[in-house]
């Protein structure tokens, strides 16, 4: 048995553990992991900063998000209503029932062991103990994490700390920590065998992935073609995140908006999946002051190291592809940074008609670059201004209060539907994702392959579950969530109405 097989075998030990432990002890596992991480915070930040070339200042909020998310899911498990329990009892008047008058009760149950492929750019919040792991564990699924070759030391350290935390929970009475959370090494970025092997293990019942479209879609295909049966892959693959600046907003707040955008684009050196990579302005000449300020900010930006040499290579290649269309020109470039991981901030410019023709200008450039797209009055009036031909994680609207009709028209005619983004930010940038019920971190293809889900917030737990219905089941055989008298005091759909009865 190789490392992947051993990890998946171990995971089988824990598939039923949430039930045995009960919700309080299960929630405590997540809390104990967060506590253990907090105790070694400085060490985690130092190691991850060294490996990723992100600063400790950049990584600190991400650390808080990682532990905050673990604790949020602990609270969700403790409260218990997340299972979407539904109870339909025998009707006294059978004529009111559509179909036979059975007693039916349903709730979400965990799918089984989950494989997690973390992100290069968020070694903490999308890493070994990031959102996918936290939500899958909360659901009751054992997790096997594949090492990310861009930060193996960070991954191993977090795994080691998490195991210490788990060992302090009640789990130690039943099994070893590695049944609940395991880790398989993959130091060499050229070696795809670990990923391939992991997705095809029979024990693995779902996959979480954050990374490139190529990588994500390769996993989707492998998972669809498994010998036993297809398993779901939730792949978050990044996006270009268009920002739309109306004529009014560009005239009234050119410097303010340019600064908001520049801060957002250049934060973490452009290596965020929600970076606004396309900036649509109604009239590039009228928007002169905005464009000028943006160019100044890019020229003032320093060159830096990117997350990994292969990511810097890809960045330079994508920028060059855009320039090679001959439809986009460089309007500002920042400082250079020599070496294999070094890169230069780049601001490009094109016009709607050209942008429209070139897919290469429509897709994400991962790194410190953005493309200004000049639009005309016609695009604005037809609502095309708001149109996106590809799905995105997020988009931004910068508009004045008196331009609501224009925004409304654009939203109604296109954005919410075809394919549109998962999140629409108004007079604010999409970077910086609040972890809450109302957050949607997801969106139509190619930003993800599953726009019906979110990777952030409490609802992320539903990805690792499926509903199961119990028909005419004796009360003592039902999970407590579905029993008469609602012993867990959770919200349930009782005969169609939300209730805690």
């Amino acid at each position: 048995m190789n490392e992947v097989e051993r990890a998946c075998q171990a995971a089988l030990e824990a598939i039923d553990l949430r039930r045995h432990l009960g919700r309080e002890s299960w929630a405590d596992v997540l809390d104990k992991i967060a506590t253990a991480l907090d105790a070694q915070r400085d060490e985690v930040l130092a190691v991850s900063s060294e490996e990723t070339a992100l600063t400790v200042e950049e990584l600190s909020p991400e650390f808080a998000r990682m532990t905050g998310t673990l604790r949020m899911f602990a609270a969700l498990v403790r409260e218990g209503s997340w299972v979407r329990a539904a109870v339909n009892k025998h009707r006294e008047n059978p004529a009111e029932s559509i179909g036979p008058n059975h007693d039916v009760r349903s709730m979400l149950l965990p799918l089984g062991p989950v494989a997690v492929f973390g992100a290069s750019n968020f070694p903490l919040a999308y890493g070994v103990c990031g959102g996918d792991t936290a939500s899958a564990l909360a659901a009751g699924c054992p997790v096997v994490v594949k090492e990310h070759p861009a930060h193996p030391r960070t991954g191993r350290l977090i795994f080691e700390i998490a195991c210490k935390g788990i060992a302090k929970s009640e789990i130690q009475r039943f099994t070893q920590p590695s049944s609940v959370l395991n880790y398989v090494r993959n130091e060499n970025p050229q070696d795809l065998s670990v990923a391939t092997d992991l997705v095809q293990q029979l024990e693995i019942r779902a996959v979480g992935f954050t990374g490139s479209r190529r990588g994500g879609m390769a996993l989707v295909q492998l998972a669809n073609e498994r010998e036993d049966y297809p398993v779901p892959v939730f792949a978050e693959m990044g996006s270009a995140n268009p920002a739309y600046v109306t004529l009014g907003a560009a005239a009234r707040r050119p410097v303010e908006i340019a600064d908001q955008l520049a801060d957002s684009i250049l934060a973490r050196f452009g290596q965020q999946c929600t970076k606004p990579g396309l900036i649509f302005v109604r009239d590039i000449d009228s928007s002169g002051p905005l464009a000028q300020r943006l160019a100044e900010r890019f020229r003032a930006a320093q060159g830096r190291d990117m997350l990994a040499p292969w990511i810097a290579d890809a960045y330079r290649r994508r920028v060059q592809e855009c320039i090679d269309t001959r439809s986009a020109e460089v309007v500002a470039r920042g400082g250079d940074r020599p070496g294999p991981r070094g890169a230069t901030p780049m601001l490009l410019r094109t016009y709607w008609d050209d942008w429209f023709q070139h897919e290469t200008l429509q897709e994400e450039v991962f790194g410190p670059a953005a493309i200004l797209v000049g639009c005309g009055q016609a695009e604005e009036e037809n609502g095309f201004f708001g149109a996106t031909f590809q799905g995105h994680l997020a988009c931004s609207w910068f508009a004045e209060p008196n331009e609501s009709a224009l925004v409304q028209r654009a939203l109604r005619s296109h954005k919410e539907m075809f394919p549109g983004p998962g999140r629409i930010a108004f007079n604010s940038v999409p970077t910086g994702v609040r972890v809450a019920h109302a957050m949607v971190h997801g969106g139509p293809f190619p930003s993800t392959n599953r726009p019906d889900t979110t990777a952030v917030g409490p609802f992320a737990i539903e990805r690792w579950c499926r509903p199961v219905c119990f028909q005419n089941c004796p009360n003592e055989l039902l999970p407590p969530e579905l029993q008469d008298g609602n012993p867990l005091n959770i919200w349930r759909y009782v005969d169609g109405l939300l209730s805690r009865e």
Copy 2:
């Protein structure tokens, strides 16, 4: 433009209509369709009975389920909470927020036009105005239905009636009925071009399918390989639906259980996706009286016509495949029915060790057949008795009250998880699906490709939606579901808590 292209173009007209109409008028569209169908009930029943060889008595409850489901979704739209609205306001204390302190609000929005491929075996409940159409329309998605070659006259009649109903709703003020619901002909079962064409239309954003695994998975592949981007397919593909009869239950209630099973297997001549096709008994000799009664019932059953000649061919082929394993023998056969659609009820028998070896004995036989599987004490004690190697829509347990520990063990160790069924029926049969929140009509592959969803009940509406988040959005630009003050008075997650505030 061919018929498919015209239908999809027309659907584009209606993608925003739910918003314009508001929830009351939108709900009324569904009610008006139900009313129009009720007005021509006898005609629909007569035509569908002629085409399908199902009796008017068999089709009558299905008619009630079709109109009941339309009205259930109308009520859901009227009430409005189904959109899963979530509101997270700015926190007064930003430290309580994980990530930036934005105002974020989200709800489910429709995906866009949906293609519906109805079932051969339920011309009404899974037909032109069946569950997929009703739930997609309720969500706000225009629907294009592909004709089923097994009952084109029924399909055309229902479509014509539905259009009359829609024309009486407020929709006529905005567009023609065919924008909301359309129908493309496909009379020749050999002609797959209509299906292929429909799934690949750019306008189509999701697909509902009920039918064979081969057909369903072909659509899944087409939808995944679309030129623009992959769209979701919700394919319900049938299953073998194992029934487990314990030693105690077989000893105490042999005739009662045999009759329950025989009624379920032979209803609608075995042509139900929830038919219990595998009957596991602990000890086939101790279960003698049960097996005997079941055999009697099969011998007394008449031969009948099946839904279509190609379905009768497939039935005969599948039964022969099972016999050809030489591991299953015929224990009872019912009456013969000559002609291309005629078929004979068949009861087969095998033993656990043989069944375990032959995939062909594990898979669905669509039609009036069932396989008795004899198990030993070891299977029961190891919980293997309850194991299913494939996913199923449903399974049944027949057990005595003093056998709870055995059932519990089997459920815990396998059924809920690996891969298991979508519904577990206790001392009752899986045929007869109650339409309610707690129903799960779905299950792991190969019974469906999306075990996270249900095709029956209010939650079926969520298949046609994705969540969209509005960040820092001016109140007047928000959909009413998300506005301050909750003008629609719906249940929402407000700062993490369910509330109607």
